[in-house]
């Protein structure tokens, strides 16, 4: 413990945050936005009365929840170039950087988890509200868009945010495809200067402070926005 070198942190802290943390936060926010939108659609499919739609969404969600995230990251890292080539009609796999590969992976993966949250949210809305809305002549999309989803979303905001904190921590797994996220940036400095103890301790501390502060905020939010019934 005597040789703890604070200097290496001081030297690299700007690089860690400018390159690494920017990557991590951008990835988290994009995957959150994409994941919530796609997850809500999946939830609507799962609750659909059209059985094949419900089955497909259910199979997708269960598949994503049954395999390790690391394996999903590998899958998409290799699959996305082929899918991209297929979409634009290329013969050879297209080049997709680690960042976009990660954005697609986390959007698709987290959507399965957001879906279950939104499903619980939608199911928490009283059935009479849907009946009333249909009686007023609103169609399915209007009922969902104006009546059900706004309330479901509000009820689920704390849970969605908690899931986002988990997502924020999970993005560190992009290490396995050598992306330069916060952990990846620190790992590069650690291996270059042979300062693994300092760098990894610092990374753990930063992740802890951010996640702890965020979950503290979510807990206080939970008390404030709860709808009194």
């Amino acid at each position: 413990m005597s040789g703890f070198d604070f200097d290496v942190i001081q030297r690299s802290v700007w690089y860690l945050f400018r390159d690494g943390m920017t990557f991590t936060v951008t990835l988290t926010l994009m995957a959150m936005a994409g994941g919530i939108v796609f997850g809500t659609l999946l939830a609507m499919m799962r609750l659909s009365s059209f059985a094949p739609l419900a089955w497909v969404a259910g199979a997708y969600v269960n598949l994503m929840r049954s395999v390790p995230l690391v394996l999903v990251i590998f899958w998409f890292f290799f699959l996305v170039p082929y899918i991209g080539a297929w979409i634009i009609g290329e013969k050879t796999p297209i080049k997709v950087g680690a960042f976009w590969s990660a954005v697609i992976t986390f959007t698709m993966f987290e959507a399965a988890y957001y879906c279950e949250i939104m499903r619980a949210g939608i199911q928490s809305i009283a059935r009479g509200q849907v009946a009333a809305s249909l009686a007023l002549g609103l169609d399915y999309w209007q009922t969902m868009g104006h009546i059900v989803l706004p309330q479901a979303f509000r009820n689920m905001v704390p849970v969605l945010l908690t899931q986002t904190i988990i997502l924020f921590q999970d993005t560190s797994l992009v290490y396995v495809i050598s992306a330069t996220d916060f952990l990846g940036a620190a790992a590069k400095v650690a291996n270059r200067d042979y300062r693994l103890v300092e760098m990894y301790s610092f990374v753990a501390l930063v992740y802890f402070v951010i996640s702890f502060a965020a979950s503290y905020y979510v807990r206080s939010l939970q008390g404030r926005i709860a709808v009194i019934r």
Binding site: P68, F74, Y82, D170, V176, L196
Partner: protein
Amino acid sequence: MNYNWNWGILLQPEPGGTGSYLQYLLVGLGWTLATALAAWVIALAIGLVVGTLRTTPLKWIVRLGNAYVEVFRNVPLIVQMFLWFFVAPELLPTGLGDWIKQMPPPWGSYVPAVLCLGIYTSVRVAEQVRAGIQSLPRGQGMAGTALGLRLPQTYRYVILPMVMRIMLPPLTSEFMNIIKNSSVALTIGLLELTGRARAMQEFSFQVFEAFAAATVIYLLTNLAVVLGMRALERRIRVPGLISAQGAGSH
């Protein structure tokens, strides 16, 4: 898509000479399960103790338990892996640290992986235990006290036997999480199932066969866990409680 499918690769020998690629992956599954099970023992032991202590009236013990939970819940798993693998041996006395670093593979990665996963999961188990205890009617603990039981006795004979049975469904999903999370150990060099699928892809260039095979093996493992736990749940169900599997049919 221009991809040369070759499912036969699974039956071809892997370069290490231990058998076919399929056997290579199944040995990986063995390591996945060995890691998950050993870590599960740690997670249950610590989780039960910490979760129980957090419901006691002892203020500073509750605070200590809360601190433990917050620390291990707010640091990503892969970072904790690195702390156990790279940092912990350096902080120990030199002799012990060197002994750990010189452990032959795969033990050099297996032991830190088990410790890391065990403690990481213990926090989640502790949360389930606490929620389970708090879901019991308060009257049960009070009845224990009224009967003249001390606090430890109340926990031992009244509260925990109930909680253990109530907690089984959430613990099943934690157990499935620990199997999935053990894949993170590939980052410290443990060749478990996902690690071996990646290695197979590097040796054979058959990317999708390797990952598809690993995916199927994970799905089958999950199925086995779900079925096993469901049978166990049915056997230890608390009579009279509403449970997911349609209680009251017996």
